[in-house]
Symmetry: C2
Subunit: 319 residues, 2 copies
Amino acid sequence: MAATNELIARLLAGDKLALARAISSIENQDENSTGVLNEVDGRIGWAHRVGITGPPGAGKSTLVGKLAAALNDRGRRVGIIAVDPTSPFTGGALLGDRIRMMDLGLREGIFVRSMATRGSIGGLSRTTQRAADVLDAAGYEVVFLETVGVGQAELDVAEAADTTIVVLTPESGDAVQAMKAGLMEIADFFVLNKSDRPGADQSYNALLNVLQITQTSSSVNERKDGWSPFVVKTVASQNIGIEQVIEGIQKHHQNMMSGDRLIEKRKDRLRKLVIQLVEDKTRSAFWTGDRITRLEDGLNLILGNRKSTLQFVEELIKE
Amino acid sequence: MAATNELIARLLAGDKLALARAISSIENQDENSTGVLNEVDGRIGWAHRVGITGPPGAGKSTLVGKLAAALNDRGRRVGIIAVDPTSPFTGGALLGDRIRMMDLGLREGIFVRSMATRGSIGGLSRTTQRAADVLDAAGYEVVFLETVGVGQAELDVAEAADTTIVVLTPESGDAVQAMKAGLMEIADFFVLNKSDRPGADQSYNALLNVLQITQTSSSVNERKDGWSPFVVKTVASQNIGIEQVIEGIQKHHQNMMSGDRLIEKRKDRLRKLVIQLVEDKTRSAFWTGDRITRLEDGLNLILGNRKSTLQFVEELIKE
């Protein structure tokens, strides 16, 4: 308890080592995590959370690095949470980017944390959210949540963020495809990175066209509440377009603040968190030693085709 | 009820339209699903479930198509469940393969079903498993479960399958990478497809080397229960190596049958299903109208920094 209190005190003072330990506690749900979260909960709501997603190789890590450095240069404290959905087929490629990003964390006002997710999707959105809460409470003003857009991960990140940026490149000629596939629903705006490469103008125009078409769709419009997504061209590796992306982030933040959108988004996020926590608690309360024994007996009956699964579940719950 | 009974009768007689409708019922959890699953549960355990995963472009759909045709030629009834984890960035590329696969479903003894998963990962493994159960009960002897290996999807498929095949190509020079990233844990054997391409021999040898190294690792050995993964070279588009893959599938099936492994694997699968069903039921029982009202009040307190999330969850559960 004394140890937890000291951890919390150091954390709130912005000590990076304490931050790292607190986030690990939450990931592992160890004995410090409840204490930390209870203290953190009274102190959140200040940081702007920016999700960054897109295909592998789009230059997301480079972009986040440049954005963080630029914001830090003007005095902002910046947190970066890099979420790796560890696909076995892209695993290795990310390593170099991650190492470069860690270097950035040596700066006084920048905190970098990498999180792996293999096998824990679903839990990802919660852990990411809680880690962002810790950074928020510790006084980080902008928190970037970065992930590769494969399957579920980009939805989880969009859920944990106030503003979501989708990064594409001229090579990902599947921009139109990507947008059809539902990215309109999560992107507050787009970054076309590596826009000095051949085909950049066509890609840019294609993106604009699709944006125009989808904006007439009422479902998107309703969600966006009058906000119009746009495209920013960058060459992140050469620091080109970074200021424009920061402007885009600020513009979106202001839009969110002007209505109820920011508070509604945060409430949605919190609602899901509470529902998930209730589920965790009721799950562990349900599976008593006795019920676990009955489960194993029941499995044998079902496998022997002597009982239906749904019937067994009903019986198990009724008692 | 009468409609459900007719659906079940037609389904058990192998009627493809009834099959398709039954699987849709389960996906949507509509009014027929309970009836269908209760009937299906008494009739499963006969089909051999074969999971196929690997990176985009490895030729998985082509391979599954050729395997299904070859098995059907020798009188087997074959089901195919193609699971698309709809990454927005690979979405379109799969379409052509899927259409070719659907053509295969016109054959008398082959049933093809495509399932999308966007936003429902976690639910994927259950829905896939239940769809395979339906095909099993309807007398399909081999059921292929195919998915792109991105993040969680390949784990879900491995969980729903008796035998899991990982498909690679010489181009995916990341074979070694892929294996380090945990594919050893799920692959019962490997297929090196497009093995007429340059670099095939090096890829093959690299795979064999990594297999040899990882087989000395005790954790893998224990799980495999004496089974040694191997590599089969194919050129699926030219029907080369298809027989060898079928032999590999049969060999693994015999190995599973000789000990307790098959029954243990099926029990594991069923255990997870029951736990998930219990969760669904308790969740809907918990969230009464009153609790939902209290949730909304609580969210406002937490957002106003006047209550901690964990404390609120405790209170909500206690009542």
